[in-house]
Symmetry: C3
Subunit: 469 residues, 3 copies
């Protein structure tokens, strides 16, 4: 019978390329997973509880899934997405699952479909296509699995062959789940990453209070510029105790600044006393990227910049369901001018790693590959978010490799909250990269032995090196 | 002998993909044509007269054809394009045809070449390549055909297997040709579409007079905001009597607005008394898109937005030959911020359909697919205008499918004035879509039976459903 | 044994396409090279001296090479790149070569790798892959070759089968090397091109002095607008004496202007007396493009516009090593509005040729192909700079051909300072074009005999015609 996921999935049909792709893939498919950037919940690994029902695990938290269903007129309430005011939503996992199954055809041609099929097959042993007809059988199968110890978070972590995974925590987080993981004696390597948006972005909800809290936590006087910077240093050191090797910055644009100490201090003071305007808030965010880069020079954290999302685009959905409900939309992002202040400040540093992501593919060949292909400190993050898909990852390689080479990229990031999908996502990335390399081999652009080295580097080594894991 | 149009045209060369593409295509090639957006002249169907000579039918009105010839130094006068001042132009169809034939090589690699060969072969039974040498023979052949009743508009309509076709008329049009078609008892389904540019765009030539005329036609007081809106409602209802299922809006940008009633009324008053500035003219156009969308909620017309053309770019050509002479040039178009007011107003409505087109491919993956992949009211129009070509349609699928899926797209639109080319254009679209689906099948991304369903949906069903035809 | 450059390099793997590509390529691979735009040093051809050591020939002057090495943390000093202050850098060619060889893997997937392998094999008879292990053997081989008369510039020129090559000189250059070439009686065709950036760009270093010098050279009063224009006419005529058929303009943007004579004169006066602002400097550059185009109408020089580079992006590198050190970064470039003044002035002229290049691929299908596909005076330059690569050239054809056709493009430009790489670059371009044409043939979009004609035109004829060589 046809498997949900064919062994040749995503390999080009042309037989000679497919043959090389198979060879390359066979040497990387079982490599350990390095997941240096993501959003799984450290509590899972800390408590190691059973996961709830199939819908709560696989549908309700996956914005790729519910945004597609919503686009075709299916209410978020019927998919179990919680409302802010607590008004009722569907809680019956089977009912949610049936809606998803009836509409599974909507995902044809999308990466969600590939990830889902892979997960059904490889994690739950499902052999039939999800549909209205098969919905209940598959639901029961998954629900049964989820009752078993082999499906607890730590068991899955080991089964997935994860060598290291990073979560992402707010600068204000106490990291108690990470502490619990460490104290448990479990050998799984789960590290945190420093995400200070709430204390560097004056537009962040509760910013002033956040700075007060930052002061309380660190014992630094966050009413002063120097104290505020010290507080960051203190938190970064604390995050490093829990394995952090990177910081992560979700700014609306790539804008950076490099003010004099005096000007930065004055700007901070205006923001701290609330007398700043919109331009100054932008400037402060821009300045803080450079400050973070300078701290990275000292403490070695890798700096990740991923600008370009217009967050919570639908006012109505934000009001009813809150943030992160599938309404973050990419927008045009310029890098060449925006990054110049930071690059002038620290771009020539060999011991610094700044990883830039983009949601604007038009910047790949025009801006990001040329920048990463010359600045020692700058590396290119992989195809990201909406572009983390077979066609998106192929375009990334086609548009960046010739100018930046492979070695100014940093392997794959799954960037996901969807724990069960992690092996599927890495498998897709490995397949797409092997397909790309196989084409280069068959067009006599690189030798097959080079492609084997590259396949391993793209699947494993580059991520490990770039993120210092 | 080599046919002008090979049976495998546009199918990938790789044998397994080509095999699947052939199978898919064989099941859709004879499906009826749904042509929900276009610019054929309703008078043709109303009067059902014989078409004039080959040049007047195939060359003089086709801006793709004469722009290419003009770009290589051939005068528009020699191609029979009328001048505004009536200064003489070529009227001998055979002389025009000979110029075209001698320069037919210029179209190598363009869709015009494919459409033309297809039409020569399938409509006129021509078996040889057009050239200076074959020019007269082919001209005579076509001229002879055009004298036959089988080549009258209605006969061609039926021969083309058109199930429904939409024309586009100004809001001020009396729709007399549509009335004549209806009254004739002919069974061909020719519907109109509501195009109000002349009465919503303050920059439109004669705008103030147009509003007066709109008032006269409808009996509404278009000196008042409420009367003006009522006049639109009245005309939309009138257009619906003649089959309209959509409105069509050719704004320079995608900008929308959602003013309060009072602010909209004040803006209208300023524009009505001529005291507005450029910013207010833009704002009025932006507001009117949202007003049209609100009316669509009531009357069910599908709203089409296709921004981004810099119209009549050459001042010299505009002065000498007038509008629409091949000098409309695409320009960069932003959607995420521009559409937000409209989407905040009505984007979550399940019963509304807004179809967005673009001339800026960089917006496919970055903006339009993410927007259409979440807003229930928004769908993606097909690859449009210059991008309505094999490579353009392939890029459209590659850059939109993974995020928007297939089901947030609306099938194919030929958008043409060139009636004889309609079957060719739909054939190209069907071939390109089958080729794309065949690749997905051979790369094991969808199953072959799913591809068969999708092939029919992309060729027929989605257009019919989206446009409510 | 595996050759460095396989005979099928860059041809698609699918056997039927590869077969057609081979046939097409076999008919163009030995065509003479037309190199109408480049930056080789005319002194080489004039003096015909032996080239220095391998590193000085192949590494130190190649910004593609040293920027990649620098991006991975290798100091420019260790690569022999001279410092502005004369502080010491590596001068031992073998030491530089070893660093390059050890890091040759970094170039996997880049065009530099292909060009280098081609050159090693075809120019120096090297049969093994460059690596740390083979470094010294290959270095010795090249060094030995460079001592032979067969490797002098004129011998290589003839061996490369160059029919004509253009260099690029400043408007202030005395063209003494070109004079020496002409006076030598050597038959090689080396022509100059008129590059007036230093005397049309008020931001150019020493602009005022440059204008004085322009006056001295020409005997025109460059203190006056009319005298300044006359000086340009005089220099253009002088450059034409040394074979120039083109001018070349490296403006930061594509902005053009078409002021009245009086306004242009007033602007010139403000700039000449130093009272202008930034906006006026931009406007002057914009106006001068149109002035150059008007002069081209009289003297027949082809006008080349290649905007979009952010020059010398790294302040630190500029201060230490000076200009042109791999830090020129592409940025977003708009053409539709920017070129309108120039196109309104002269765009309909059939006897004028304006060639536009871009570093922003998003402009290919959206702006440049639609413009070149209608304006008689406008042609598209080939994939340029970072996009002069297999994937870049493929995208250029895929994104421009359907709208502009092949005949509004101008063949290939190598645009290089790296003389030994010229055959490699043209070979890559010929291969990529043959591969593209072969796909069109196999998809039945053009006939094989048409593809043969086109292959020759893309490799040879179009460049010769467009540049009037």
């Amino acid at each position: 019978m046809t498997l949900l996921t064919d062994g040749d999935m995503l390999f080009p049909a042309e037989p000679s390329i497919r043959g090389v792709a198979r060879d390359l893939y066979s040497s990387v498919k079982n490599l350990p997973i390095i997941s240096p950037h993501g959003h799984t919940d450290p509590r899972w690994y800390a408590e190691n509880n059973l996961f709830p029902d199939p819908a709560q695990l696989l549908i309700v938290p996956d914005h790729y899934v519910f945004r597609m269903l919503f686009s075709q007129g299916i209410d978020l309430e019927s998919l179990g997405v919680p409302t802010l005011d607590g008004s009722p939503v569907q809680t019956d996992g089977r009912a949610i699952w049936r809606i998803f199954a009836e509409n599974y055809f909507l995902f044809r041609g999308t990466p969600s479909r590939i990830w889902f099929d892979y997960t059904l097959q490889n994690l739950f042993g499902v052999e039939e296509l999800l549909s209205a007809e098969s919905a209940d059988r598959i639901y029961d199968r998954i629900a049964e699995c989820l009752q078993q110890d082999a499906y607890r978070p730590r068991a899955l972590f080991e089964r997935f062959n994860i060598e290291a995974i990073a979560t992402t925590e707010s600068a204000l987080d106490d990291l108690k789940w990470h502490r619990q993981i460490r104290d448990s004696g479990w050998s799984g390597r789960v590290v945190t990453a420093y995400r200070p948006d709430s204390v560097v972005d004056p537009d962040f909800e509760g910013f002033a209070g956040n700075l007060d809290q930052l002061g309380d936590i660190t014992g630094c006087d966050t009413g002063l510029w120097t104290g505020y910077l010290d507080a960051h240093r203190s938190r970064r050191a604390y995050f490093k105790e829990f394995g952090a090797t990177s910081s992560d910055h979700g700014h609306p644009t790539a804008e950076t600044a490099n003010l004099s100490d005096a000007a930065a201090e004055e700007l901070f003071n205006r923001i701290r006393n609330g007398s700043e305007d919109e331009r100054e808030r932008r400037l402060f965010r821009a300045q803080m990227l450079t400050e973070m880069a300078k701290m990275s020079l000292d403490d070695g954290l890798v700096l990740q910049i991923h600008p370009g999302a217009w967050r919570n685009h639908s006012s109505g959905t934000l009001a009813k369901f809150g943030r992160d409900k599938g309404f973050d939309i990419p927008s045009r992002t310029d890098y060449v001018g925006a990054l110049k202040p930071l690059l002038d400040a620290v771009g020539l540093e060999k011991d610094l790693t700044v990883i830039a992501f983009t949601l604007d593919e038009s910047s790949y060949a025009r801006e990001l590959a040329p920048l990463a292909g010359v600045y020692p400190a700058l590396k290119l993050g992989p195809a990201w978010w909406f572009h983390d898909s077979p066609e998106g990852m192929r375009r990334f390689r086609e548009m960046t490799t010739e100018t930046a080479g492979f070695y100014n990229t940093v392997g794959f990031n799954d960037d996901t909250r969807a724990f069960p999908s992690i092996p599927a996502r890495h498998d897709v990335a490995r397949r797409v990269d092997c397909a790309f390399l196989a084409r280069l081999v068959c067009e006599h652009r690189i030798r097959e032995e080079e492609a084997h080295e590259l396949a391993t580097e793209l699947a494993y080594t580059l991520a490990k090196q770039a993120y210092r894991l």
